[in-house]
């Protein structure tokens, strides 16, 4: 990503085109959504019965699972095209970079409108909208992980595959997928965690004068908080944590431990992850039988199919090329049509805009930026000392890490309704609450990175510092801060993205029938979408996205490069 100078100069040009294209697509969606009459609202009230909690959890989980499967499929196609088609790479990679840094939550209303209009009067549209939202929140880092894996495969391994005449399918099965597996599993886990964040927000929201609700844990938590039923709220949170912990133990931990074998290292290192579940699975007779009797013949059959079937098919190349040509023509035509419609919609929207609105949006972006900075500062202020302390004391690290991981796994959006209710009860406006909410969403990224950085300080450097009698602030300045700097920057980049996203839910809160807002672009976006000011919504969203992209390019990326070059310990 942070590649050589040439790719950078190329990408800034591509960025422009892509930015425009994205804007066009959004305004297309808005144009289309506003053309049609509004569909019927969602739904009845959410039941707070305890008995329904498992069902709620199952609903929420299924939405996540479907979104994840779509993400996985999309990841394969996108990463493959980007890695193997140089022409596609020029477009897809800058696009990926932008999409990664755009705050997804601001698209919530747009996406919703489009889907509700697609399936008027049914739950399907709302469900699809929440799934699409989760998908857009979790897919990008998975794509990046696979793409990065594909392009970093060592030349020797690739040449082995070529010289042994592996078919493309076999290459994928034995080389490409295994090589990228570690990154893919890790990022899937991250994506799933990010997915909870969006799901909680997407299950219950108001749009215009309509209230849309989906049966699930997110809506359960919001309803309970709205009604001030703390027992229910707590139980809802507990079931969410339970689902997350079970997922972690039954799926992610075994997967991580399993993916250890795909590491490229050639020395037997200490295994990083242990999973009892995986050990049980590996020893199970049933699984062994399934492997030899089902999996192996299946792989053989697929090998055979792709080895024999594909080349024969490819021989009729004239037919294939003409089909590809047809597809290409259709796609081009579709793009031109979409751009045209989007442009028309955009002009229509722009006509209803004035300078005053623009000014307000810019000021609001500034206000939110300030809030993001304050929340980052608060997070850094407490996580750096604590993280360094944990990292330098491995004994505590062992026992504290699982606890903090569980704490971090609870999506901030799940805590928002309860926290907002609590803050209003205790007094103190949304001004304060919104910053607190942002901190809640960002601190963990920083904490974990700081812990990782501090525990990676080599023993000899620590000993040298001790020998020279370095103390207090001196040891911080010469050893600790430089050593954790790259990790801190990595954490801040992720945390910054999280804070921008959180601003949309944190600056505009509906509680007990009242709407509380504070001045900021997130609040503005939420307000515009609720009141149907789509022109302002589009402009606010694009200014917000632009701000995030610019900050990433101008601040984080140079800092990151400096961190990896100057302060890297390897």
């Amino acid at each position: 990503m942070f590649g050589s100078r040439q790719t950078e100069s190329r990408s800034s040009y591509a960025d422009l085109i892509i930015g425009v294209a994205i804007l066009a697509l959004i305004s297309l969606a808005i144009a289309w959504a506003t053309h049609k009459p509004h569909g019927i609202s969602g739904t009845g009230a959410i039941s707070l019965s305890y008995a329904k909690l498992p069902l709620d959890a199952a609903y929420s989980w299924s939405r996540m699972a479907i979104a994840y499967l779509i993400s996985l499929a999309f990841t394969m196609v996108y990463a493959y095209s980007a890695a193997y088609n140089p022409r596609a790479e020029k477009i897809l990679i800058p696009l990926l970079d932008i999409l990664q840094s755009v705050p997804i939550l601001s698209f919530l209303p747009v996406v919703l409108l489009a889907f509700i209009n697609l399936f008027p009067g049914s739950h399907l549209g709302v469900n699809l909208a929440s799934i699409v939202l989760i998908f857009t929140g979790q897919v990008w880092n998975m794509v990046f992980a696979l793409y990065n894996g594909l392009i970093t495969i060592p030349r020797d391994l690739r040449e082995t595959a070529l010289s042994l005449q592996l078919t493309p399918w076999q290459r994928f099965r034995t080389l490409e997928l295994p090589f990228a597996m570690g990154g893919l599993v890790w990022n899937s886990m991250m994506s799933w965690a990010g997915g909870w964040f969006f799901l909680m927000a997407a299950e219950m929201f108001s749009l215009g004068h309509h209230q849309y609700q989906l049966q699930g844990l997110g809506s359960y938590l919001q309803t309970a908080a709205n009604q001030g039923r703390w027992g229910k709220e707590f139980l809802g949170l507990a079931s969410l944590v339970a689902v997350i912990v079970v997922m972690d133990q039954l799926i992610w931990r075994p997967l991580l431990a399993w993916s250890d074998k795909f590491k490229m290292e050639m020395v037997e290192g200490e295994a990083q992850f242990h999973s009892v579940v995986l050990v049980v699975l590996r020893r199970s007779r049933l699984i062994e039988w399934a492997q030899t009797a089902l999996l192996l013949p299946m792989v053989e059959a697929i090998d055979h199919f792709f080895g024999i079937g594909i080349p024969r098919w490819r021989r009729q190349s004239r037919w294939l090329t003409s089909a590809a040509g047809l597809v290409r023509t259709l796609v081009t035509a579709g793009i031109i049509f979409a751009l045209f419609t989007a442009l028309e919609g955009g002009i229509r929207l722009a006509a209803s805009l004035n300078l005053h609105t623009l000014l307000v949006i810019c000021l609001a972006t500034g206000a939110t930026l300030l809030r993001v900075l304050v929340s980052l500062a608060i997070s850094v202020a407490w996580t750096v000392p604590v993280g360094v302390w944990i990292g330098l004391n491995p004994r505590f690290a062992k026992s504290l890490t699982p606890i903090s991981q569980i704490a971090a796994s609870v999506p901030a959006t799940a805590l928002f309704p309860g926290l907002v209710a609590l803050l209003f009860v205790l007094g103190g406006g949304l001004m304060l609450a919104s910053v607190l909410l942002m901190v809640l969403g960002t601190q963990w990224y920083i904490l974990f990175n700081v812990i990782a950085g501090a525990s990676a300080i080599p023993e000899d450097l620590k000993e040298a510092a001790r020998m020279f009698g370095l103390k207090g602030s001196h040891i911080w300045r010469t050893l600790i801060l430089p050593a954790i700097f790259p990790y801190l920057i990595t954490g801040l980049i992720t945390a910054g993205g999280g804070a921008w996203n959180a601003s949309i839910v944190a600056e505009y809160v509906s509680f007990r029938g009242h709407i509380y807002t504070t001045f900021g672009v997130g609040g503005l976006i939420a307000h515009d979408s609720n009141s149907g000011h789509f022109a302002a919504l589009l402009v606010a969203t694009s200014i917000l996205s632009l701000t995030v992209v610019v900050i990433n390019r101008m601040v984080w990326r140079p800092l990151y490069r400096q961190a990896t070059e100057r302060y890297s310990l390897s």
Binding site: S4, R5, Q6, P154, D156, L157, E159, T160, L162, S163, L164, Q165, L166, T167, Q170, T174, L175, P178, M181, K261, F262, K263, M264, E265, M266, V267, E268, L296, E300, D303, H304, G307, I308, R566
Partner: protein, 461 residues
């Protein structure tokens, strides 16, 4: 040796004017291989010998069809090679095993690709694992094996597909001495006794002894760009004895050829080539020759050693004594020649008068000598000129990289400048700030000060 493999008039591999260029973004192409013509007959064990960076690995990849020549063609049994050659297989320096596959799965990889049924695949893989002496390790993962065992798997994997041509890219250089020796003789046994149905072996190496020990033909490549400099037949009978006078004599002879080849392509073109006076900008560009990648500390050590031995020593002896391959030694001797401290002739390193002085004096005076020599090298003249003419006497690194990239590949340009900065810092010619990426002159390095300082240095010595 007797040729016991199928003899037909047609050669196994024929290279016709193979040329490889790497195109640069700014249209300056780097020539790597220049008009290589080569024929490999059935029954031959050919070693491709050349200094590092001579493009021998590139040539190997072109022969196996992994890479395409820019011009010229490769014929395999008379047919042009257009993709990875199914009759050739590769053994890599890095072993290139798939770490997530077991030994057996790795060996079966090529068979899977051929669509060999499961049972036959297992049987064949087990037989090969037996042959290379790894029975019992079928279910082990590569990371559980030692380096030598890993390369055995590499051989088994390459041999499993019954190749006619075995291509090896420095197969023993990542192994320790004893392991490598063991594996070499085992491979030779398999080859000489025809236990494997191979038609020919092609091995890329920079080890002269290794080539003389194993091959019956050595093709020596020159550097920048690679051409065939010499094609030798090694007629010693197998098994070869490294101690025998014939062997030692042959190694010495090859050593001389390799060092002389290096000599011919040394950066000497300070003057513009004759016959192109009408193109001054062309000759200006031709002047930036690569500086050799010699470590200055190694240079000092080597010169002191040779000076203690009377100012002249045999390079082959020096190399084997210091456990250095000719590849590691040549950049250092190149540097010594560039600084006029020594010259190489007939495989010997001979100190010049300046070299003898250099070996005797202390660090400060050594720095003065190198500074004087650096000022004669075009790259350093260029850097000096730029820094002196700027009012703030500073210039960003990328400026010089851009200039260098018109003469070298991107990687090479970076390496050249890094080396230049290193030498410049050593000789106190200019400073470099890593954070700002600026090359700059300090107060005492300014032109006027430079002159007086130099004068003092000469007065001192």
């Amino acid at each position: 040796m007797t040729i016991h493999r199928g003899t037909t008039s047609e050669p196994l591999v024929k290279l016709l004017g193979v040329t490889k260029m790497y195109s640069q973004p700014d249209n300056y192409d780097i020539l790597v291989l220049d008009d290589i013509n080569l024929t490999i007959e059935r029954g031959q064990f050919v070693a491709l010998l050349g200094p590092s960076g001579s493009g021998k690995s590139t040539l190997l990849r072109i022969i196996t069809g992994l890479s395409e020549p820019s011009y010229g063609s490769v014929l395999y049994r008379g047919r042009p090679v257009t993709g990875p050659n199914p009759h050739a297989s590769m053994v890599f320096q890095s072993f290139a095993l798939y770490p997530w596959l077991t030994v057996q799965q790795n060996v079966e990889l090529g068979l899977t690709a051929k669509g060999v049924p499961l049972a036959a695949r297992h049987e064949k893989a087990l037989r090969l694992i037996d042959l290379i002496g790894l029975n019992g390790y079928e279910d082990a993962f590569p990371k559980e094996l030692s380096g030598g065992m890993r390369q055995r798997v590499g051989f088994a994997r390459a041999l499993a597909v019954d190749p006619e041509l075995l291509c090896m890219d420095e197969p023993f250089s990542a192994l320790d001495f004893l392991t490598a020796e063991n594996l070499r003789s085992e491979l030779l046994d398999l080859w000489v006794d025809s236990k494997i149905p191979l038609q020919a072996i092609l091995m890329v190496t920079h080890g002269i002894e290794e080539a003389v020990y194993m091959a019956d033909r050595i093709v020596i490549l020159s550097k920048n760009p690679a051409r065939v400099a010499e094609d030798l037949t090694i007629a010693l009978p197998y098994p070869r004895n490294r101690k025998s006078p014939d062997f030692v004599h042959l190694v010495d002879q090859v050593y001389k050829i390799v060092t002389d080849t290096d000599e011919d392509h040394k950066p000497v073109s300070i003057s513009s080539p004759a016959g192109s006076p009408q193109k001054p900008e062309e000759s200006e560009r031709a002047r930036l020759d690569p500086i050799p990648y010699g470590h200055l500390s190694m240079l000092s050590g080597l010169l002191e050693l040779v000076s203690d031995r009377g100012g002249r020593d045999d390079l082959y002896h020096l190399g084997s004594e210091l456990l250095l391959e000719v590849d590691d030694l040549l950049p250092v001797t190149d540097t010594a020649e560039l600084f006029h401290l020594a010259r190489v002739s007939e495989g010997d390193l001979i100190l010049t008068e300046q070299g003898k002085v250099f070996a005797e004096v202390d660090v400060a005076e050594r720095k003065a000598i190198i500074r004087k020599e650096l000022l004669d090298i075009p790259l350093f003249r260029l850097i000096g000129r730029v820094l002196e003419s700027k009012t703030n006497h500073a210039m960003v690194r990328d400026f010089f990289i851009d200039i260098l990239e018109e003469h070298f590949s991107q990687d090479q340009a970076e390496r050249q400048l890094m080396l230049a900065i290193n030498w410049g810092r050593f000789a106190d010619l200019f400073h470099y700030d890593t954070d700002t990426e600026l090359l700059y002159l300090a107060e005492d390095q300014l032109p006027e000060a430079e002159a007086t300082l130099l004068g003092q240095g000469q007065a001192d010595s």
